[in-house]
């Protein structure tokens, strides 16, 4: 695996994970009032 491979793999996966965590953190910490 090349350096570029590591960069793209880790960057893509962590980038998506960061957005997912942020979104679900926001969704789950909002007051319960339905959608």
């Amino acid at each position: 695996m090349t350096l570029g491979g590591w960069v793209f793999m880790i960057g893509s996966v962590l980038g998506v994970l960061a957005v997912v965590v942020y979104c679900y953190w926001k969704v789950l910490t909002l007051p319960k009032d339905g959608p």
Partner: protein
């Protein structure tokens, strides 16, 4: 209008349902193949660009238009687009939002039943590829041919009851059961369980794949790390090829379930102050987690360590149903458990998608004809089963399936997404649309999206669509001339489209008589 008010039970419920609609076989099987063939890690450049400029904005537009249409009492694509697009032309084009999920469901439920059958084969030890590893590939192909009947038309419907038909019936029954129960008690409750379960299954398989090491001493170059490299090492030369950009945009597009008529229905049950921006982003990012995080790390490395580079390249069916069974066989006794987990996960991915396609069609039938759910479900179920039987019978080389997938499941989706993009930004108006999106929103859409939605997204979409047509239309038109099954399958599609147009017209008459503002002349009065 439907006689029974349907509503989502919770914020998370609608998000998981839309995410479930988006996450399908393509996340695990199509994305990896597309990436490997189009530059590996470098593919992520056009991929993320398409996500940000095409997928997510069209998703936001769909969520917004759907909620707006829902506030006016409409939950079907013709109703919603008629309101948003202010008239009959858009309402007629909205028929695509019924045609696409209906026709796609006809073959998708069949593929879903294959996943269920493969799961059962693994779970009950009936996935036998023989004792000789040299024969695994041929045996795997033979199993696929036996399950799908792809060597001959009618083979799964001849003589006795073929297992494929049994699994198809069970799958249809499961789908109709959840649709019958309705939005909150059926689809939402199921997705609330299925989505986390899917993630657990994916993690189990991922953990097994990443710990494979270098399983074949005869091939020390085939390590998991080399497999990940095969997937992710960037080939920047591919960025100069238009095909790469086309493939990336296409993958994002189909992966996110935009232009399917699904979000146009699902989000129509939201209330005025229910957020669409954060919800849309959350659903999209969940899809990306399964695609990039799981699909990107499991499929290709698993195939590579046992079969090398040539074995790790393939399309959706090739990778999913031919290559991976060989991989699981090479894993030894534990491979059976991993195989069962994998195909159960694919089944969950598929059924959360097929439910999302049945629901908008049921809503359309209810809304246009004034029928209750207990009538719409048998009608929709019956139509889907008839279409599905067509696909099951004309199984040779999967021509019927492939024809429907091209004309409706690919071209139709491009068309609908383009229509939606123009309706939102140009007919409804991008400023009005963004203002509407921000009602109840928990995050703000960046200001640059005013420009993106109005100019970049429609142009990007049109360029990709034209490129797709140039690349694929000649072959498929030739196919129509040469193959009578392809020709007749297209007639089936056109017949279904005509029926939808008639029902939609009947619906418009009912809506006008009921005093609904079907042309969107007045603002919502909620």
């Amino acid at each position: 209008m439907s006689k029974e008010a349907q509503q989502w039970g919770s914020r998370l419920g609608v998000i998981l349902a839309v995410a479930g609609s988006a996450v399908g076989l393509g996340n695990f099987l199509r994305f990896p193949g597309q990436a490997v063939q189009n530059g590996g890690g470098a593919f992520m450049v056009p991929y993320f660009l398409a996500l940000v400029l095409l997928g997510i904005p069209i998703g936001w537009a769909e969520w917004t238009m759907a909620r707006y249409g829902g506030r006016k009492g409409f939950h079907s694509a013709p109703g919603v687009l008629g309101v948003v697009g202010r008239g009959r032309a858009m309402r007629t084009l909205g028929g695509l939002g019924v045609l696409v999920p209906l026709v796609v469901c006809m073959y998708y439920v069949l593929i879903e039943s294959w996943c269920l059958q493969y799961f059962f084969r693994y779970a009950f030890g009936q996935m036998d590829l023989g004792a000789d590893p040299a024969g695994f590939v041929d045996r795997s192909k033979a199993v696929f041919v036996a399950v799908t009947g792809s060597d001959q038309d009618g083979v799964t419907l001849n003589g006795g009851i073929h297992p494929t038909v049994i699994f198809w019936l069970v799958t249809m029954a499961l789908n109709l059961f959840f649709i019958w129960r309705g939005l909150s008690r059926g689809i939402e409750r199921f997705c609330n369980i299925a989505m986390p379960l899917m993630a657990v299954c994916a993690i189990v398989v991922l953990a097994r794949v990443l710990t494979l090491g270098t399983p074949d001493p005869a091939h020390p170059e085939r390590s998991v790390l080399a497999g990940l490299g095969f997937m992710w090492n960037p080939d920047f030369s591919k960025l100069g090829d238009f095909k790469t950009w086309l493939a990336a945009a296409g993958q994002v597009f189909f992966s996110l379930s935009v232009g399917f008529g699904v979000i146009l229905n699902y989000a129509s049950y939201l209330r005025k102050k229910d957020d669409v921006v954060l919800s849309g982003l959350t659903a999209s990012s969940t899809n990306e987690l399964f695609e990039v995080g799981f699909g990107g790390l499991i499929t290709i490395p698993a195939a590579f360590v046992f079969l090398g580079a040539s074995g790790a390249i393939g399309g959706t069916f090739g990778l999913g149903f031919n290559t991976l069974p060989v991989v699981f066989e090479h894993m030894g006794p534990f491979g059976r458990f991993i195989g069962a987990t994998w195909f159960f996960m694919l089944f969950l991915a598929a059924i959360t998608s097929s439910l999302s396609m049945l629901q908008p069609v049921a809503a359309f039938v209810e809304e246009a004809l004034g029928l209750p759910r207990r009538a719409s479900v048998p009608i929709v179920g019956g139509v889907v089963m008839l279409g599905s039987l067509w696909v099951i019978y004309f199984s040779k080389n999967l021509v019927a399936l492939d024809t429907m997938d091209f004309w409706v499941g690919t071209t139709g989706i491009f068309l609908l997404a383009t229509i939606q993009s123009i309706a939102f930004a140009w007919v409804f108006g991008v400023d009005r649309g963004l203002a509407e999106a921000h009602v109840g929103a928990h995050i703000r859409i960046p200001g640059v999206y005013r420009f993106v939605l109005k100019y970049v997204t429609p142009v990007y979409l049109l360029v990709v669509f034209i490129g797709f047509c140039v690349q694929n239309l000649p072959g498929y038109i030739r196919g129509l001339a040469e193959d009578h099954v392809a020709r007749r399958s297209l007639w089936v599609i056109l017949f279904v489209a005509a029926v939808i147009a008639v029902v939609s017209s009947l619906g418009a008459r009912r809506w006008r008589a009921a005093g609904l503002d079907l042309d969107g002349k007045e603002p919502p009065n909620d």
